[in-house]
């Protein structure tokens, strides 16, 4: 674990951020946390010889911001009925989710070494029956948003104030189920719901716009009754502001413009790194680039 210097407002760099930090410190601390998550992802995939490294690295800053600065969750009470819900719909990016959850304290970081090993709780796709902090078993694309809509309806019905966040791939949005759910959330004005699109512009085999065009993406969400904002998907302060901005009675879609493979130069924005596995030398190089 990192032995970095303590943050200005106290604690260790892996503590969730206090509400009172200023933008500069938030950026600094979330940046350090994201680096730890990225290092963990590279190590896990390098060890397992399997995984989806490109999408893990593009979604890392979103997950770091959510778990360390936004979500009201308690690793000691992962099923607290009033917790905020985070659903990773692009479930193939389990290595980033597991790393984030364990660094946040949901389970020991030592368990990450079992990623995809026989009988491990840490399957290639997340399993809520085995891993604390996982809200939904995802993997087939297009499941997370409908579940998120149900969760937001449940909050409303219970008069509770928990919020629901769903992290989606951009290629994933080609699944029609997302748009059925989007219509439902818009119709019901589910303003406790936030959809975050990891807009890295790549899917499994090609660019999204060369496969099945998504743009103009923000307009699509608006047409379905959502507020939509775009931001830099690697700027933690911008993500924080987008996730926590006051609501106007509509669900919110945050289009997080990102780079697939962010943080490792030879992986960034290359389609073949959807699920390519780095060689041991490449793991070394990647970890050097992801210096603390």
């Amino acid at each position: 674990m990192p032995a970095s210097s303590a943050p200005a407002s106290g604690g260790t760099i892996l503590d969730p951020l206090p509400a009172a930090v200023d933008a500069a410190e938030r950026r600094d601390r979330l940046g350090k946390i994201a680096t730890e998550i990225r290092r963990s992802v590279v190590e896990m995939i390098g060890r397992a010889r399997l995984g989806h490294i490109g999408g893990d690295l593009s979604a890392t800053d979103t997950l770091a911001t959510l778990f360390f600065a936004v979500l009201k969750v308690d690793p000691g009470a992962p099923t607290d009925p009033n917790r905020d819900r985070l659903i990773l719909s692009k479930g193939h990016c389990s290595a980033a989710l597991y790393s984030t959850l364990s660094l946040r304290g949901f389970f020991p970081t030592g368990d990450l070494a079992t990623f995809m090993q026989p009988l491990s709780a840490l399957n290639g796709h997340p399993n809520r029956r085995k891993v604390p902090g996982v809200e939904a078993n995802t993997g087939p694309l297009g499941h997370g948003l409908p579940i998120g809509v149900g969760s937001a309806i449940a909050a409303k019905l219970s008069g509770a104030d928990w919020r629901t966040f769903v992290v989606l791939g951009d290629g994933e949005l080609q699944e029609g189920s997302n748009w059925e759910a989007a219509m439902c959330a818009g119709h019901r004005a589910l303003d406790s719901l936030t959809a975050i699109v990891d807009r890295n512009r790549l899917q499994q085999g090609a660019r999204t716009e060369d496969t099945n065009r998504l743009d103009p993406l923000a307009d699509k969400w608006r047409a379905f009754g959502w507020d939509a904002v775009e931001c830099d998907g690697h700027d933690h302060q911008a993500l924080f502001e987008a996730f926590t901005a006051p609501r106007s009675g509509k669900p919110v879609c945050v289009i997080a413009n990102s780079i697939k493979g962010k943080g490792v130069s030879f992986i960034e924005d290359r389609v073949e790194w959807h699920h390519k596995v780095p060689s041991p030398e490449q793991v070394e190089r990647a970890l050097k680039e992801l210096a603390r």
Binding site: A48, L50, G91, H92, M116, Q117, P118, L119, S120, A121, L122, N123, G124, H125, N127, N137, T138, G139, P140, L141, G142, G171, E172, Q174, E175, G176, Q203, Q204, G205, A206, T208, T211, N212
Partner: protein, 318 residues
């Protein structure tokens, strides 16, 4: 079948034979189109895409659309080969398969790639262990599970000319060839008797066929001569071969890389109870798998030589 113990037996991923044959038939038949869901790589369609870019319809990550679009293509005179990972093709688009393909009786070839537990560590979401059960319930849909490359090539040719909706389960987990003579590797609707025997019959499909042959070898060493049937057409089932096996050998073990509820074993049992009741053991997948590689999981569920031998010995009471 009796390679020296030291020789390494060659094993095959059937996707290559599938993709090569598809390109071959597309060269002579302009009606052949491939439809996929961001799966050009995983369905080995790169060569097809290079040769016939306009005949490859990649609809993106959208399986329901993929099957519906294929129905429209078939209605327009084309023969669509719909290529996607088996769990998403059959699971997500099940109603399109039922209605758009089967109820409309259109010649759509649904190609379920990497079925069973081929995706290993990616887990139950990516395992296609229910496909045989839920597709068997669909009227008029032919279900074909080739066991090796020779069967795959023949099945692709059959499907292209069949004029009926079909499902081809294209294996990815490597397995040895079970075909001795390529010229009669596969005949639609017919079981292949790969080994004669009268003590019991092992009825297997897909990658379990080579494992059934290994089990028969072990059983023979213990004086038990097992017949081995390769069922590459799950639907319609070769009832005559099943009834003969039940009558002549008196006991049946089935083996498949699929849930035991509703797959090959269930299909065989329905024939056996009706025409020639005989004791059976149905080997298959027993639920959502834990984490592990494809081979680890096959062993985990006893879908290997030793598991088949144990079931056979139990049936024979020895």
């Amino acid at each position: 079948m009796t390679a020296p113990a030291t020789a390494k037996i060659e094993t095959f991923d059937c996707r290559q034979a599938f993709a090569e044959t598809l390109v071959e038939i597309a060269q002579s038949d302009p009606r052949i189109v491939a439809v996929c869901n961001d799966s050009v790589g995983s369905s080995n369609l790169s060569a097809f895409q290079k040769l016939f870019p306009e005949r490859l319809v990649n609809v993106g990550i959208a399986e329901q659309d993929m099957v519906g679009v294929s129905a429209g293509l078939a209605n327009g005179g084309f023969i669509p080969f719909v290529c996607g990972a088996a769990p998403f093709l059959t699971g997500r688009a099940l109603e399109q398969i039922k209605v758009d393909a089967a109820y409309n009786a259109l010649p759509i070839v649904l190609c379920g790639m990497s079925p069973g537990m081929a995706y290993g560590e990616l887990g139950p979401t990516h395992h296609s262990i229910e496909d045989l059960s839920w597709l068997r319930a669909i009227d008029g849909l032919a279900i074909v599970v080739p066991a090796d490359p020779a069967q795959t090539r023949a099945a692709v040719r059959w499907a292209a000319g069949s004029g009926v909706p079909s499902y081809l389960r294209i294996g990815r987990t490597k397995a040895p060839s079970v075909t001795a003579d390529d010229s009669n590797a596969f005949a639609f609707g017919q079981a292949n008797v790969l080994r004669q025997g009268s003590a019991l019959t092992i009825v297997a499909t897909g990658i379990l066929v080579s494992r059934a042959l290994e089990a028969a070898e072990v059983l023979a060493g213990r004086g038990i001569e097992a017949r081995v049937l390769n069922i590459s057409t799950i639907k319609p089932l070769d009832e005559a071969a099943i009834v003969a096996a039940a009558r002549e050998t008196g006991a049946i073990v089935t083996a498949e890389e699929a849930m035991t509820e509703g797959g090959l074993g269930a299909a065989v049992a329905a024939v056996v109870v009706r025409h020639a009741p005989a004791p059976m053991r149905i080997l298959g997948v027993k639920g959502f798998a834990p984490t592990g590689s494809a081979t680890f999981l096959l062993d985990h569920f006893g879908l290997n030589r030793d598991g088949i031998v144990a079931a056979a010995l139990e049936l024979k009471g020895s």
